[in-house]
């Protein structure tokens, strides 16, 4: 039990895919300008990584090692396309919200990274837990970054103004506060991730590499 729960909990903290393994940075930069997109992306990755890890794990004994990366890529692309088609047919509104993320999920290196590092060598149940754990660890960072970028960049959270109206000059804006447009640009996501890494490593010195 202890070993299995570690699969879920470790990626949330000391083996976080973004801050420790440095996987999935590209999407962390691309879509964290607002909180809602971060949440949608986290849920999508949770779904694809959970199922994908199980599929790869079930196939692990028959996948030829020479073409395993291509096989992994096909599995994830197929999964994403199936989800996309089904949503387009039965939940069109939702599919439009998610369409932007489809390409980002297929190329998300966390997914390939977990297939390669875990699912190829472990059973389906443990692979499922590993997938869920890593997707949650990824989601936590995405949501933290999305929270600060939307709050400081646009003064809103989930699209709702929380600091007042920047044009009418109410709330914080009345005393001279300004939104920091820089926060909306991708490099600032890297800086926010950097700060998270800094906080994390100063709390746990064992994480610092030589």
């Amino acid at each position: 039990m202890g070993k299995d729960s570690k699969l879920i909990l470790d990626p949330l903290t000391d083996n976080n895919p973004i801050t420790i393994q440095v996987l999935g940075i590209c999407s962390a930069l691309a879509i964290t300008a607002e909180l809602e997109a971060s949440i949608v992306m986290s849920i999508s990755v949770l779904f694809v990584l959970g199922i994908g890890n199980v599929v790869i794990s079930l196939m692990r004994n028959i996948i030829p090692s020479k073409i395993r990366i291509i096989v992994q890529l096909i599995v994830v692309a197929t999964l994403v396309i199936i989800v996309d088609l089904v949503l387009k047919a039965f939940a069109y509104e939702l599919s439009k919200t998610l369409s932007v993320f489809v390409g980002l999920i297929i190329t998300n290196c966390i997914i390939m990274g977990r297939f390669e590092a875990f699912a190829l060598g472990n059973g389906p149940y443990r692979s499922f837990l590993d997938g869920i754990g890593n997707a949650l660890g990824y989601g936590v960072i995405l949501i933290i970054v999305g929270f600060f970028r939307e709050l400081l960049g646009s003064g809103t959270l989930l699209g709702i103004p929380v600091l007042g109206d920047p044009i009418e000059k109410t709330g914080l804006y009345a005393i001279g506060y300004e939104n920091n447009g820089f926060m909306l640009l991708s490099p600032m996501a890297l800086i926010v991730v950097g700060i998270i890494i800094w906080v994390q490593r100063s709390r746990n010195k064992a994480l610092i590499e030589d």
Partner: protein, 263 residues
């Protein structure tokens, strides 16, 4: 002992098998869902057109379409005429068809005209079909035209509702893959609503379009005759794409609007 999965023959057979399995699954699913997806897309076009002319269920902050089950009915009720204007490469009107004439000739509803294909035709120097949807709501006449262009990553498109003087009466924008939180915000109310009341023409009646402008010193968008709306921070290229598609596509409608005034 060599693992059997390392053999070349196994690898080749596995690859072929995998391609067949994945191909069959995806092709089957695609064939099964295609009619539903096509129908969803047609309804979406109707919703977009209706949205631009103000037939929607917007709440205070977010853009909401009329629901999918009533969209075809609302479309029939609010859109009184679908005109197709055929122009040659110099922009001269060759013919103007009503919906009935167009359906009789092409066996297709005018609102399903693919703007992208028509742009490609114009590029080859062939005549281009311009659909224009005439709507009537609360006694007011709206002329809704589709536009299509390029954003940062992929296609962007929209529908602009105008009055007979080419003053914008409503706008709807959408995109295929703009960055969430930045370019994707062209489909947010705060951006689309800014277009309301903007003039596409100068006072002299020359087509100028509407520029999505940075630092236009009018963030509240009070000046409606400056042919500018305020840009979205961090979405320069998407904004330029919006400017370009408005300029390129709506310009072609000017000769038709001039004939309206002549009557």
């Amino acid at each position: 002992m060599e693992n059997r999965t390392d053999k070349n023959s196994y690898t080749v057979i596995f690859a072929i098998g995998m391609v067949i399995v994945v191909g069959v699954i995806l092709a089957g699913l695609f064939g099964y869902t295609k009619p539903m997806i096509t129908q969803n897309e047609e309804i979406e076009k109707q919703q977009n057109i209706l949205y631009a002319m103000g037939v929607n269920e917007n709440d205070e902050t977010s853009a909401v379409f009329v629901s999918t089950d009533v969209a075809p009915e609302e479309f029939g009720k609010n859109i009184t005429e679908q005109i197709v204007i055929t122009v040659d490469s110099s922009g001269k009107i060759l013919k103007t068809q009503t919906r009935e004439e167009y359906v009789a000739e092409y066996n297709k509803e005018p609102y399903l005209i693919d703007v992208k294909k028509q742009q490609a035709k114009a590029k080859r120097g062939e005549p281009r079909q311009l659909p224009l949807f005439v709507g009537n709501k609360d006694g007011k006449t709206f002329y809704v035209a589709p536009i299509y262009g390029k954003g940062l990553w992929d296609a962007i498109w929209g529908y602009i509702a105008m009055d007979e003087n080419m003053v914008v009466q409503g706008a709807y924008f959408d995109h295929k893959g703009e960055t969430p939180g930045l370019g994707a915000n062209i489909k947010q109310r705060y951006f689309m609503d800014d277009f309301y009341g903007e003039h596409l023409l100068t006072e002299a009646g020359v087509f100028k379009g509407i520029t999505v402008a940075k630092g236009n010193a009018d963030p509240k968008n009070e000046d409606k005759t400056d042919n500018e709306v305020d840009a979205i921070a961090g979405a320069t290229i998407t904004g330029d794409g919006v400017t370009a598609m408005i300029k390129k596509d709506l310009r072609l409608y000017l000769p038709y609007f001039e004939t309206l005034k002549g009557n």
